[in-house]
Amino acid sequence: MAPFAQERPCIHVAFLDDDDSLYRWVQIGAEEEGVPCKLVSERADDVVALAYAASKSSRFNIGIGISTSEVVLHEMHMPPEQPVVAFKFSGKADFFCRLMGANAARMIIRKPLRFEDDPSPFENETTMQASELPAYTPPPLQQATKTETESPTLTIDPAQVAKIVAVVIQKLQERGLQ
């Protein structure tokens, strides 16, 4: 057990495999509700046991276990073999991880959990289609603050602009020019 000063209460998130790229989405989900979370390494045979191990090490008693196909939320007082909620990824791993991050936080702040079939789960921008975007035609950009140039006569799709901007920002960040 780490010394008290280092043991800030957090939601503990553990991965069954080495790939922890989905952690970012759990973190975003928890951040929305204002609760911190932490990546921990636990050893277990299956994802439910993993989540339970994570919950036991968390001072909030809340743990999340993630495998390649599933994300599981566990609470220390639950029977070890019975997780609170489990979502199978159906092609939207990032969405479910974000949802579970929010749910883990909601366990702590005592708000009702969110389920995939809820009428109002949040939208994940990766699931958005350009066609769903509001019809909006911004005037052409004239400023030279961006590296790309657009033909001013073209109608601009905001989704495309957003993607290009994302790439530009990423590049800028990589070069440390921001």
Binding site: E32, V84, P112, E125, E132, P134, I156, V165
Partner: protein
């Protein structure tokens, strides 16, 4: 001789049956079975038959006999009244130009107040140095991208004051900025937000509500309004009270107004005189008018107004049911109740709600005996058993109530049903006085449904359930907190779908309530609805039957009827009537059936008495 007879009581909401065996008219009957099922169709119509048959079958099963073994079925005589309820809002808020967004998203971002020109996020780059802007961020802009764009604009010297976000990303964007700015999120119709207009965004501190934008002078200060213009923003400020976040946009032609729908007048035609009351005056004025006119003969509403429509609708329904011409349908009692109902603001951008005044009206019309005779005839044909009309409902109810252990005349009963509140008083010489008033359980459900804005048209009537069961908050997967603040623990974990929700504690377990309201709010609305309908009507009814019109002259009151089973109503009534020195208690028909089956039991008993006498 031994015969088996059954009493059937068709009520507004339930149909009840009592079956008894009679060996001689001198000895008391032996009750074999009882049942209670939902009434099918409107009371007094032929569509009641399926419910009556079902109820008979269940009671027969309970008694261990077959329906064909029943020798005689007794039906309560001409149910004297049927009721209907209606509700209309008398104010409405309309925004002709979109100029306000006010709502309570789960988690708005940042906090504080910001004023600036509404600017689309893609236009941020062209904003001038030092210019105050409110960023408008449609869905499709990832929060990280949006945050980076805003951050860069701030670094370039643009004075970003806050933002309006379509998705649920307010917190995430706000957290990624160098300074704390208010972000209102989950604004569905963000594309309708007018751009290049002056706007103010406010997000309240944690656990607090907005302060500036719900204050007309606050808005005036931010937008530099003239006194005339300030007057125009009052409806906006009013609609924003109590919210966690809000946006107000100043559009040149923007106009928000509270329209007062001409609510109209009610003409109360009484025995003594006729009174005209304004519905605007609220329920109290109507009820005062009622007291002045004496026994009500009829009610009409001013044509072309809301209340006129309401009264005519009641009349039409009743005319359809009773098959009487509409002119002959007379309204014999009304109960008016004030309430505040959330109404969607027309022209709002994020499904804003505003609390509007409304009046609920329960009305009651007299029916004639013909209806029940027709029903008796139809039932007899249907089951092949002789069907007779028993006695008057109020007398039957008292007869049934007298089977409660420890009760004797003189006695008053309060029959709290679904459609009407009835009272009857039996004096020592067995004379019975009775009164039927509009408004009972169904009215309470309507008030709860409208005031909490609960979903309608689903299989389970949520409001009805809220009326019946106490509340609890599911605080963890293992414990709930009841509405009286006591805590109950469970051995097995609860359904995660219940977690954090307000639930009803029923015999069948916890049922989540599909609203965002707190336990306290739901409880308050529920109790207030019962107070305004049941307490008010009980007092009104008892006053009418009491000797010399004084409730103090009644010593004992027994509560019967379906609503008598309510978990808190008997206590509420007891508290109130204790002021008059009257003893109130819930009846226990035949010592075991509780408050129901009084009329059905009474029908059997009165038949016996008649036979003995005749």
């Amino acid at each position: 001789m031994t015969s088996i007879i059954a009493g059937i009581d068709v009520g507004n909401s339930t149909t009840e049956v009592a079956i008894a065996q009679i060996s001689s008219f001198q000895s008391p009957p032996r009750f074999l079975g009882a049942s209670r099922v939902s009434t099918t169709g409107i009371k007094g119509t032929l569509s009641n038959i399926p419910g009556m048959k079902l109820s008979l079958r269940q009671a027969a099963e309970d008694a261990g006999i077959d329906i064909s073994e029943i020798d005689l079925v007794l039906l309560n005589e001409a149910t004297p009244v049927i009721g209907d309820i209606a509700m209309e809002t008398i104010t409405e808020t309309i925004i002709t130009e979109s100029s306000m967004i006010g709502h309570n998203p789960g988690s708005p971002g940042g906090m504080g107040i910001g004023v600036g020109i509404t600017t689309h996020i893609t236009h941020l780059v062209s904003a001038k140095r030092g210019e105050s802007v409110i960023v408008v961020i449609p869905r499709g802009f990832d929060f990280e991208i949006a945050a980076s764009l805003i951050k860069r604009a701030i670094e370039a010297g643009v004075d970003v004051q806050g933002g309006i976000v379509q998705s649920d990303d307010g917190v995430l964007i706000a957290n990624r900025l160098p300074k704390r700015l208010p972000f209102v999120d989950e604004v569905g119709l963000v594309d309708q937000v007018p751009l290049n207009m002056l706007a103010a965004v406010e997000v309240g501190d944690h656990g607090q509500v907005i302060r500036q934008l719900c204050n007309p002078y606050g808005i005036a200060t931010l937008f530099d309004l003239t006194p005339q213009e300030t007057q125009m923003v009052i409806p906006i400020a009013k609609a924003l009270i109590g919210l966690r976040s809000a946006v107000v946009i100043r559009t040149p032609a923007g106009d928000v107004k509270t329209r007062r729908i001409p609510a109209g007048t009610l003409k109360l035609i009484g025995e003594i005189r006729t009174a005209v009351v304004e519905l605007d005056g609220g329920a109290d004025e109507i009820m005062e008018g009622m007291a002045k006119v004496g026994r009500l003969q009829d009610v009409t509403g001013a044509p072309g107004t809301n209340v006129g429509g309401m009264v005519e609708r009641v009349r039409q329904t009743m005319s359809d049911v009773t098959e009487k011409p509409i002119k002959e349908v007379k309204i014999r009692d009304i109960l008016a109740v004030d309430c505040l109902v959330p109404q969607q603001v027309s022209g709002g951008l994020a499904q804003e709600f505003s609390m509007e005044n409304a009046v609920g009206l329960a009305a009651m019309v007299n029916t004639d005996q013909l209806l029940m005779e027709r029903l008796a005839l139809a039932l007899a044909q249907e089951i092949g058993v002789r069907v007779e009309l028993g006695g008057v409902e109020a007398n039957m109810a008292i007869m049934g109530t007298l089977t409660t252990p420890g009760i004797d005349v003189p006695l008053a009963i309060l029959d709290l049903g679904a459609g009407s509140t009835d009272a009857a008083l039996m004096t020592k010489d067995k004379e019975v006085q009775s009164i039927h008033l509009a408004g009972a359980g169904n009215m309470v459900s309507l008030l709860i449904q409208r005031e909490l804005d609960l979903p309608t048209g689903t299989n389970i009537d949520v409001a009805e359930q809220i009326k019946r069961y106490p509340l609890a908050k599911v605080e963890s997967l293992f414990h709930i907190r009841n509405e009286d603040n006591s805590v109950r623990f469970f051995d097995d974990p609860l359904d995660p779908r219940l977690f954090g929700r307000v639930a009803l504690v029923t015999e069948g377990g916890l049922i989540p309530v599909p609203t965002e309201h707190t336990v306290e709010r739901i409880r308050e609305v529920r109790r207030e609805a019962k107070r305004r309908v049941f307490l008010r009507n009980s007092l009104r009814a008892l006053k009418t039957v009491a000797p010399l019109g004084n409730i103090r002259n009644i010593e004992f009151v027994a509560i019967v009827g379906g609503s008598g089973q309510d978990f808190e109503l008997a206590q509420m009534l007891m508290n109130k009537l204790a002021e008059f020195g009257t003893v109130v208690g819930a009846a226990n028909i035949r010592g075991k059936l509780g408050t129901v089956n009084a009329v059905a039991t009474g029908l059997v008993l009165s038949y016996m008495e008649k036979q003995r006498a005749g």
